[in-house]
């Protein structure tokens, strides 16, 4: 374990000292706030750590940025004085690793974003539903396969979220993340259920079409 560098020490000087209103909080992309938010939940993290963590938490309700994006955002956050970094060198060799920590002004900015920035509408890009919407162009078997795979995906996500939710909810410090994780569990559960019902709707539809077709052939 690591000896708790005073990150607050460095960033007091950054702003105008006795300024009452910090005001000029730039509107960074939501991704930047997401990364800063992850930092606000931890002591110190590397870019690599952040990516891994994003993959198993953020991922469920907000997408996980790529490595390069995370490194870029970290640079930007540091430029704004919202994060500090220090290079950690292992005792033997000279392999370096950059650990980031949120600063006091970063915490303030993140809080400001949460409390005062306009809330963007949730973005849903559901390519499975898009394909279902174009069902008239699809081969029924393929459509069924797509939906079946989506059901598996939703179930996998639900299970992962469930594991994380179970792991987190003992510690009261994680109350908010774990409440959100429970939301995620239910979300993916619903996702699975709705996809299952859509699947049987489409099966019914296919049967009707087959019946109608065979009736027609009969008439002929």
């Amino acid at each position: 374990m690591r000896g708790r560098i005073p990150s607050a020490m460095t960033d007091g000087a950054a702003r105008g000292a006795h300024d009452e209103e910090p005001q000029a909080i730039p509107d960074l992309p939501t991704t930047a706030w997401a990364v800063l938010g992850m930092l606000s939940h931890a002591e110190e993290l590397s870019g690599y750590d952040l990516k891994k963590w994003a993959d198993w938490s953020l991922q469920f309700f907000y997408w996980s940025p790529s490595f390069s994006q995370i490194y870029a955002e970290l640079k930007r956050l540091e430029k704004h004085g919202y994060a500090t970094s220090r290079t950690v060198v292992s005792e033997d060799g000279m392999r370096g690793k950059r650990m980031y920590a949120i600063t006091a002004s970063g915490r303030e900015a993140a809080a400001h974003w949460v409390n005062h920035s306009p809330v963007e509408a949730p973005v849903l890009k559901h390519s499975v539903m898009l394909r279902a919407w174009l069902g008239h162009l699809a081969e029924p078997d393929r459509m069924r396969e797509i939906l079946t795979q989506h059901i598996d995906y939703a179930e996998k996500m639900r299970r992962r979220a469930q594991i994380d939710a179970d792991g987190a909810d003992t510690n009261p410090e994680w109350a908010y993340p774990s409440a959100v994780l429970r939301w995620c569990v239910r979300h993916y559960e619903a996702e699975r259920e709705f996809a299952q019902d859509l699947l049987s709707d489409l099966d019914k539809l296919a049967r009707q079409r087959t019946r109608r077709k065979s009736t027609k052939e009969h008439k002929q």
Copy 2:
């Protein structure tokens, strides 16, 4: 079945003429296929029409591209021979308007995309949940307000989807879109419900914190 129209007719010049496998279907961004998909559901539409329609259908499960994006995609689709356009001039004046229609090869390409392109994982960018995940930084009242507004949003979307679902489901031609719309109705219903439950979770949490704080004060 399959009248197997030589879509080659229109785009034969582009390809190697007597190529058996249509093969070279370029992987356009999903937005392009979404636009082409809308065209596949209609006779003829202008860019403006497409935007309006995207706002009340695609919007529910896939985001609605901006006007400029739609116009750009239409140009691209036409370049690939997937859509044709004609200029419509009103009899009196010379105000022009460009109407687009899907071609046979466009229909084929769209079908190919639905049936054979790898299905991207659904993208969810839920800024409300992100804020809740950062609840430790938020003012409780503001957090409550954000969730309440989200509940209203979800309810508004549910209602809109419901209206469209009711309108569509008579015509058997719209079976797939209307099945997806029913999915949307349930999705937004669940979204509202989960947000309501999260709201009361957080309220409970806040009450616990207040209690603990006052206990502490009592001890002092």
